[in-house]
């Protein structure tokens, strides 16, 4: 952990948060918010949370900025002047200061920043650090705890992505094809972007697969890899057009894959139940996977569930983008 760098970055982040809320133009606001996420990612890196940093880089800095732009694309970035509503402003300020004061009240008691002896660092997490590798043969402790010890959380986290994409479909998807209000200009008239994407997309996808597969040994895993794979599809959709990307992965197939991803995870956990063990007890897989002991069965199972996570997240990101940018019609986008 790097205290000096962190402190500087925290100040920078605070400035960007204020600026992002203060600018009177939504597009600028969103762009600045992207920068805020960049710096947050650096802060996580500095505190040793590489997996979180990776996720933040993929989700916060990359995809969520694109989501914002996709919404603004079809609407407006105008902010108009409101008559100053002083009472509301004061009310909310008092509320926030009160809440902040309460939080400060608890501050005196907390262990100082970076104290290795704090109870939070010595109780349960110590066990994970000391025995996770012995029990699972996965050197990336975050992956080990994420996909095995607390796999039940992770399964529902995958469900959350699935719910988001289903919910967005539920709300936005239009029946049939409404006539277009405007004729789209030649969608793919930019040669540089097209050629650059043609080069980049295979690399991005390869990198995404690497991140999924190598999550046991380096930062990364299902979520990060899934977001990167989803981002590659988003890139195709932006560089060419939506009709083109739909040929690669149609909307129906996307939904089906999203649910299949969750089924891979949950189903992999269900098999031990049929073998008489508890849900998500991967060691039961040793009986089914030839040549593995209980420990390696856990390790391999983690890879399997990460693949499920990656599929769902990829389809989730892709589906959310497609719905938002085309307003649920899936005909044209950015």
């Amino acid at each position: 952990m790097l205290l000096g760098i962190e402190t500087l970055l925290l100040i920078l982040v605070l400035i960007l948060a204020v600026v992002s809320l203060w600018i009177r133009d939504l597009m600028s606001s969103v762009v600045v918010f992207g920068a805020y996420s960049f710096l947050m990612c650096l802060i996580w890196t500095g505190m040793g949370a590489v997996d979180v940093a990776f996720t933040e880089a993929a989700v916060g800095a990359g995809v969520s900025t694109v989501f914002f732009v996709a919404v603004l694309f079809n609407t407006t970035r105008r902010i108009q002047f409101n008559p100053l509503d002083l009472s509301a402003k004061i009310f909310s300020a008092i509320l926030c200061i009160g809440t902040g004061y309460l939080l400060m009240l608890g501050l005196s008691d907390l262990p100082s920043w970076g104290d290795p002896q704090a109870l939070v660092n010595t109780n349960v997490s110590k066990y994970y650090i000391e025995s996770a590798y012995k029990q699972t043969k996965v050197p990336n402790l975050v992956t080990a705890v994420l996909a095995d010890y607390r796999a039940f959380d992770t399964m529902f986290e995958t469900c959350v992505v699935f719910i988001a994409v289903l919910g967005i479909f539920m709300l936005l998807k239009k029946d049939g094809r409404e006539p277009l209000k405007e004729t789209s200009a030649k969608a793919n008239d930019n040669l540089i972007i097209r050629v650059a994407s043609r080069f980049m997309v295979p690399f991005i996808q390869l990198f995404g697969l690497y991140v999924v597969a190598h999550g046991h040994y380096s930062p990364g895993g299902g979520f990060q890899g899934g977001v990167i794979l989803g981002a590659s599809l988003i890139l195709v959709a932006m560089a060419f057009n939506i009709e083109f990307v739909k040929q690669l992965l149609s909307i129906k197939r996307m939904l089906l894959l999203a649910v299949i991803g969750v089924i891979i995870f949950a189903g992999w956990g269900l098999v031990p139940v049929f073998l008489g063990q508890s849900f998500l007890d991967y060691s039961a897989w040793a009986a089914l996977l030839p040549g593995t002991g209980e420990i390696m069965a856990r390790s391999h199972s983690m890879l399997a569930v990460e693949i499920g996570v990656a599929i769902t997240v990829m389809c989730g990101m892709y589906g959310i983008y497609m719905s938002l940018v085309s307003d649920g019609r899936f005909d044209k986008g950015l």
Partner: protein, 124 residues
């Protein structure tokens, strides 16, 4: 103070986000406020799990077969919790943006005051 600097920034960020969610009139700004509010919490968890002088929680090749000193590696548990929170955050953001999009379809504005005005007009 420097020893709890992270918590102070965390509280300020969260209150900034909360304030934006209540006081800002533009619903996209409200969503940005919500995202800032959530990152505040993530900062809280991550910084409580940081240990000075520790390394990232991925075991070094040479450490794998020796007894491990837990103080040398950052706390993995808080990181896992926050991985979940980030994903939940982006899912919430996606749904929030969808709702904002639909509100824009209905009222042709992102401004709260104008929306309320229009609702009032419908009633009259």
């Amino acid at each position: 103070m420097i020893l709890k600097f992270n918590y102070v920034i965390m509280i300020i960020l969260m209150m900034l986000g909360l304030w934006a969610m209540i006081a800002k009139k533009n619903i996209i700004k409200k969503l940005i406020g919500m995202a800032i509010f959530q990152t505040g919490i993530i900062l809280f968890y991550i910084s409580m799990g940081a240990k000075s002088g520790s390394n990232i929680p991925i075991l070094d090749y040479y450490d794998r077969y020796k007894p491990i000193d837990a103080a040398q590696y950052a706390n993995p548990l808080t990181q896992i919790l926050m991985l979940t929170a980030i994903v939940v955050g982006v899912a919430t953001l996606g749904l929030g943006l969808t709702l904002a999009r639909k509100i824009y379809d209905d009222y042709k504005t992102f401004n709260e005051d104008e929306i309320l005005q229009e609702i009032k007009n419908e009633h009259d």
